[in-house]
């Protein structure tokens, strides 16, 4: 008499265990990778004093507790600026539900960029709240802030045309965390990832 062939229960149990352990391994390994990929702290921003488009003073204190994406602009710019401005608008829309993520555009052409001109420019970009501010101040102050604060070159001879196209990510403590090319979609994806991670640091 032939015995009934036994069901491969051991193999089945092991395969189920393998699937469960694979899930655990995926979670643990990705958590470990995430914990290692902290964005470095580059420089502490000094205090500064500029004015936003509605005439209110804007300094470092208005960046504390928030994640800020900072760029340098001038409203008459023809070169790469329209591309950068439209990329910035996309981000501004993307983060519309998050008050603690703000956009800061600093004019390098204060002579033409009056408060009135900045207000018009803001409307042109579709700005309807205070998550995106446009700043102006004496050119010397802006140049000093760019060079000494943001560590980005700003040559008075070539301004405003020669302004930087680099975006700076500033954290909740007013520290520079990363630089990005505002015309490069791949680099903007990195910026979004960094914003996600910074957001986790805040929570």
């Amino acid at each position: 008499m032939r015995n009934r062939k036994p069901f491969p229960i051991l193999l089945i149990v092991i395969i189920i265990a393998l699937i469960l352990l694979a899930a655990v391994a995926i979670i643990v390994v990705s958590r470990a990778d995430l914990s290692r990929s902290k964005i470095p702290v580059l420089y502490q921003l000094p205090d500064f004093e500029l004015t936003d488009q509605s005439g209110q003073p804007f300094g470092l204190s208005r960046m504390l507790g928030k994640i800020s994406i900072v760029d340098f602009i001038f409203t008459n710019c023809k070169g790469p600026c329209p591309i950068m401005a439209s990329k910035m608008s996309e981000l501004y829309l993307l983060y519309k539900d998050y008050d603690h993520i703000q956009f800061v555009s600093i004019s390098v052409d204060p002579e033409r960029d009056t408060l009135e001109a900045l207000r018009e420019y803001a409307i042109l970009q579709g700005v309807n709240d205070d998550r995106w501010v446009f700043l102006r101040g004496p050119l010397d102050d802006v140049v000093r802030l760019s060079e000494q604060g943001f560590k980005l070159a700003a040559d008075v001879e070539t301004l405003p045309m020669g302004h930087t196209i680099v975006w700076t990510l500033v954290d909740q403590d007013g520290r520079i965390r990363s630089y990005h090319n505002g015309t490069d979609d791949a680099d903007i994806d990195v910026l979004k990832e960094n914003i996600r991670r910074l957001n986790r640091e805040i929570r």
């Binding site: 062939k5 051991l10 193999l11 092991i14 393998l18 391994a25 995926i26 470990a32």
Partner: protein
């Protein structure tokens, strides 16, 4: 509680611990706690940076990695007590059965040694050789537990196991297979260690190119893997087809050896082709541990059967 169930539980728990240990390695959490046995000078790892004692550099602290490493230690202590209870049970109940008593005592001694050796691994900042020794001891402990469990089952089921006859040579083949798997594990460890060393010497090569650069050992490991899987499947077919003559444990082992051998080759190929993804690495190692244990159990079962 019956001894054989306790012993089986200790074996299963040790397999889980081997998985956790592998996970510590591939997630890079081995130095999550820079000290031993405490973690950052505390019995419960710190959750805030302020809790780190002044003599330890706070830059070393990573909450996630510290807890991954510490959970490995905690589970290790738990499994250690389970193995200790197996040994104590054996001392009280099976004092006159040296085939149960001695392996059980050796297992608990090795487990204590393993804990201490784990501390040395941390102190050496994960010296590859010491990491491999740590793994080898784990394999040895689990083999001893399987031996004890097998003996315990034979003890209880001695009267119910029928005298079965196995085809000549199959026991010998099962023994050869177990030896091949042990050689294969050693070769695999060597491949892993070589990748670590080579990646420092040739920073421009990707993991697949590194494997090609390692040459002989990695080809040997691949070839032997295929041979083992084929032998396992052939033995599986013989045993499963002719199951009238075999105990059900032998058939379970045959299924598992053939099935896991197949998985192991697939995972080995994925490692080779996709640059050592960490999750696959830990599964590859865990299946290796299972294969060596099941091959041992298969051999013991056939050997026992052929004597009666």
């Amino acid at each position: 509680m019956r001894f054989r169930l306790l012993s089986l539980a200790a074996t299963a728990a040790t397999y889980f611990l081997i998985f956790v240990g592998g996970l510590v390695r591939v997630s890079g959490a081995g130095l999550g706690c820079p000290d031993w046995p405490k973690c950052f000078g505390r019995w419960i790892p710190p959750v805030r940076i302020e809790q780190i004692p002044p003599e330890i550099d706070p830059a070393l602290f990573n909450f996630t990695l510290a807890w991954i490493e510490y959970i490995n230690r905690l589970i290790g202590v738990g499994v250690g007590f389970l193995i200790l209870s197996v040994a104590l049970y054996a001392i009280f109940r099976f004092r006159h059965r040296p085939k149960i008593l001695f392996p059980a005592i050796l297992a608990v001694v090795l487990t204590a040694f393993q804990g201490w050796q784990g501390g040395k691994v941390v102190a050496s900042e994960l010296e590859p050789m010491l990491v491999s020794v740590h793994m080898a001891i784990a394999f040895l402990i689990v083999s001893l537990l399987i031996y004890v469990t097998h003996q315990a089952y034979h003890l209880d089921g001695a009267k119910t196991t029928l005298a079965v006859e196995y085809p000549a040579g199959i026991t010998k083949w099962a023994g050869i297979m177990w030896l091949l798997i042990i050689i294969q594990v050693i070769a695999g460890t060597h491949v892993r260690g070589s990748i670590e060393i080579m990646s420092r010497r040739f920073p421009l090569l990707n993991p697949a190119e590194l494997l090609a650069e390692i040459g002989a050992v990695s080809y040997f490991h691949s070839l032997l893997g295929i041979i083992i899987a084929l032998v396992a499947m052939a033995m599986g077919v013989i045993v499963i087809k002719d199951s009238r003559d075999f105990s059900s444990i032998a058939i379970q082992c045959a299924w598992a050896l053939a099935g896991l051998g197949f998985f192991q080759i697939i995972f080995g190929m994925v490692l080779f082709l996709f640059g050592n993804p960490p999750v696959i690495q830990v599964l590859h190692l865990w299946i290796a541990a299972l294969l060596s244990g099941i091959a041992l159990l298969f051999f013991l079962t056939l050997k026992k059967g052929s004597k009666t």
